[in-house]
């Protein structure tokens, strides 16, 4: 009886309890309260991508942010001669294409699933709706994404400085 009632409740609230529990596994949303998560989950769409499946292309308009539930994603940047380099590796629980939340126009990289990957998609329009209706929740998400971006930047900067230091020690001038 209880599963039927729960299913009916899911149908009428357009809300999946499974998705809500998955939301707990993403550290970005750890600051959200239970009620905020219930509201926020309604805006997320769960999508599954196969191995090497393209999620979006380089220079395509940024219209959604992606949060990885399971699997991993590579971000690629085209070089000359049609060759593409992987510039970033995004693991489970992380976010990519977050420029959609900050008003970015087109993506600098393409994204491709490196394994069977499951993501939550947050459309920019839906996020703007959230900003209007629940600014507190939107602010928490922005802060969390901003912190993640800052951590990524700090890590990249540290790696870059270490690399520069090693190159200097090896007397290699780039």
């Amino acid at each position: 009886m209880r599963p039927i009632l729960q299913r009916l409740k899911e149908v009428f609230s357009a809300h999946s309890y499974e998705d809500e529990s998955l939301l707990d596994e993403i550290s970005l949303f750890s600051q959200l309260s239970r009620s905020e998560k219930k509201g926020f989950i309604l805006l997320l769409h769960r999508r599954n991508f196969g191995v090497n499946e393209v999620i979006y292309c380089e220079n395509s308009p940024v219209s959604a942010a992606y949060f990885i539930i399971q699997g991993s994603v590579g971000l690629f940047k085209a070089k000359g001669d049609g060759i593409q380099d992987r510039v970033h590796y995004v693991s489970q629980g992380k976010c990519f294409s977050s420029a959609a939340l900050f008003g970015g126009s087109s993506s600098f990289t393409s994204a491709q699933a490196l394994e069977a990957t499951s993501v939550f998609v947050l459309l920019r329009n839906d996020f703007l709706t959230l900003v209007g209706e629940q600014p507190g929740t939107a602010m928490k998400i922005l802060i969390a994404v901003g912190q993640e971006l800052h951590a990524d930047w700090a890590e990249s900067r540290t790696e870059f400085l270490a690399l520069t230091h090693r190159l200097t020690n090896a007397n290699i001038v780039v």
Binding site: S60, G74, F76, Q84
Partner: protein
Amino acid sequence: MRTNFLLTLLLLLLVLVLLLLQYVLPAIPFFKSSLIIAFWVFILCSCHPLLARSVHRKYLILRIILALLLAGIWIAIEGQLFELLLSQSTAEPHAMKNGFLSRRLSARSAQWLEFVGAAQSSVISFADRIASELWPSAGRLLPAILIALLILALWQALRRWFLELIPNAYFVFVAHGLSESGRRLGSYIRSETMQASLTALLWGGALWLLSIPNGFLLSVAMAMASLIPYWGIWFIGFAPPFLTAVFSGNAFQVAALAIALSAIWLLRRVLFAERMQLSRPRIAAIGSLAWALLGAFLVGSSGLLLVLPLSSIVLIIVRAFLQARSTIVREVDLDPLAHLSP
């Protein structure tokens, strides 16, 4: 906007003049009726968005000239119509002994009074027709309301289910299109509901205060007609002052109705113009009239009222998806895997 206020002042002045004329020249209904019609046409020409688009003074003068021209045409037609009615009249007027002018006026009054009854019955039959076309029976109406409520309650769930069926390559496009069309439709429906409710409420109040029969029915019709851009409000708003002018010839009532309609129209513009401009899909004025007439021709009176709101909804959805199209074209047509070397 300043021109509109100037026009309102002019209208008030005209009302005073008309009232004065009504007392000075009470025995000449032809003159009175023609003046009322001229007055009404002037209001129509001054306040209609197509004619009152510019605030330049020379256009105001042109509008007045146009109003007078239209009034002249009406007076000529009305005179011909009266002659025709008089020639067809078989009833001997009561005031034959009072000379030619009295006889003529009495015959005219008798003839118009006959038409008042006919017009009232035709208004009621028109209302019945609208009601029967829009709501064929309570038996059908109730399930329709229930289905609509169920769809509304399940809308989010239906949207999610539908999106789950969409392949990954088209997901962002469809989700973006649905989201955008939903947002635009919501804005359109909210804006139209607010302006239609306010218009109907004010118009119903004005009709009730002025003791116009079937005021509630006319205000409901006004609410529906106000959904038609450019022309809708005038379809229904024109009827009560026009019928009052033609059949009862009460200048005060006509002027009050005309002023009430103009005031409602102006208030509606002030409160909702920006909102409606943003939410309504752009349809050319002539195009909207053509659509409304086509709807009336194909479906009848309900088509006249419903074709433009329905086509607006379709346009909103189509335009939202066209806007979202650029996203999917770039995502699907480009293939970054061709030379991929991870």
